[in-house]
Symmetry: D5
Subunit: 93 residues, 10 copies
């Protein structure tokens, strides 16, 4: 099932540089693993903002929460999750 | 280039049924033509709302405006357009 | 799966009384049928407002959209849908 | 009487880990005790957010305030309380 | 139990004058009856706005909904209801 | 003259306990003195929130500002003040 | 006592021209009479909007409500009233 | 002096086609005349919305109000005006 | 030209007392000097809030920005500036 | 292609003066270089606020994100980006 997610990241500007780099590295690895597993089919940068729109494809609300709350950046994020249904005009099966 | 679009439709509840059906038919045909042309790669129904998230893939802001303002339902919609950049974690080329 | 739904109803104050009564009758029958089927485990009136909080229990986003967009009052409603996961403190299995 | 409550938790990301674990432990015990007493019939995690929707069943506004302001996490929360009445379509007695 | 209520009235400016006068007359009588019964201890006009703050004193959420949804002006109102608890500084018993 | 006031208190969760207790003690004494003087006829706790609705009865805007800005908690509060007029339905003189 | 007032006017675009002209004439006369009486010391047009900021100088909340609710345009307005106190930096007596 | 203006147009979807065409024709002529006079140096379409951002260059607030309130579409618009100062980084004189 | 300004001050509650006193002293002197020069004809305290409405009378947007950004408290303020035009009902020349 | 950008800067009031001066120096140089390259045709100070409206002229969403996220002040900013299309009334080619 598809979930539309908006993630806004708020890192303190005076965060220790090494700590920040390590955190972002873990975040990238975490996300790319899920992308390879097909659970995170789309991730787009909102141009000009430290935020992204993503589409997650998982089997339940529990799994979407587990996935998102497991993000290394979770504690620095505002997140909104919107369930997506099939649109009647969608030509894809 | 990718644009994230949210469209909320507000049709008057007491709209003439035939007029409404014809309007929606034209809207569907318009959208599906653009989908076939690859300009409208994604359209998802926001579950529970008369609204959708879409991803449009066109070459310029002028084209995205032309496409959206040409929607038969345009006059009944609230629309927000957000430009999308490539996310550094995106594993797709 | 559980979905939290808020529904705000906006009926025109000068709506024809008979039409309104018939519409509400259909709405009640529609809802109660789904409640009997176990798909609508909770519906509460927000005190003082023509609105309700509901918990729906269905198998997919498509089904929750189908259920909500099929409401006789759908065209007169503002609806927000929030997916619910199991809370770590919840003592229920 | 039933109260619908939304609780959003904002813990500082750099909170001491042990302190945080102890606080959450107390929060869980506090909530589960009230659940066993039947005063907290429902608690759901809002998928993707550090927030929950809950239904509390207590006898007065004073009691609901006492219950909520006694939460170990109270000082880190934004809370909204909405009184719930019986919905005319509710098939439950 | 005390409920704080804000009521904003939106009457169509071109409403028939007699109809409006009759409606307001019924509203006044309805409110004053409840005030005499002690269920509506306070009603204040928000200066400059067609709105009021009220304090209702009733025994349950069902009763507060019944009271408010029975207002002749209910269909023309935006209403927000907030449950009130005893304040620790309140010198009144 | 009556003023409706909403006060939301935001104390830092990690405030020194003694300092907090002393501050709240001063706040309570300050409020109760004004209540005894009849300038603060009502104070209600908004159930579930560190906030209150109050009705102040003073002779001028200057006095209401002086009263509120003199609150020991003033620096930790968001405050909104709304002037109240007599409601045409109010049965009290 | 001084009250800061914002008035936003929403006239239906298809209002009868003569009716509109007469209404605005009455509004202007009403306002200018109060200005001459010193009760309406300031009225400024918010540039680009059908709205104004005004300062009213009257003796009570009741009077400010009476003045504003008596405006011929009252039914077409959104109004917000804010009580003003003397600023400690104000060099005027 | 420069003013940043956002104009959102809300035309009733069922407006008479001829009337609408004539109105838009007058609007276009009005705007283009001011552009030729150098008072309206920039007008951009907000992609996907019936709205524009404009930069007006006039000598006073009175003139900017006169210009905007004279727009044929003024009665169908939400307008926000923001005064612009020279930015310290601006390399233009 | 007249500008309507709203200034909301947010000073950290735990600011050093002497530093705060000195800052406010500079702010008062700065404002009163401009008042004496006729550039700040009105400053009113919003009753109950650490905020003010002001009317500034200066010759350009650059000057209003210079004036406001020069306020000692500027870094602790949220400021909104609205250009004011002459109201057609204003009886003052 | 043109992008409308609003940038609101939030620098901590107690930031080290030298650090702040150096940061602003880098920001100015960064912006002026892009202005000289024709990628940043307009930058205006929003009068009274530590914010600006800018028009960027770049070839893609990726480039606009790269440009904005490269701003030395990026971590202290709230940014909104709006794609601009050609307005039908625009007399410029």
């Amino acid at each position: 099932m598809l979930y539309h997610v908006r993630m806004d990241v708020h890192l303190p500007p005076d965060m220790d540089a090494d700590e920040k780099a390590a955190l972002l590295e873990r975040e990238k690895a975490y996300s790319q693993q899920l992308q390879r597993e097909g659970k995170w089919p789309h991730i787009w940068r909102i141009a000009g903002e430290y935020a992204n729109f993503s589409i997650l494809d998982v089997d339940s609300h529990d799994e979407v929460h587990q996935l998102l709350s497991g993000l290394p950046l979770f504690g620095y994020m505002d997140i909104t999750v919107t369930p997506l249904a099939k649109h009647p005009s969608d030509i894809k099966d």
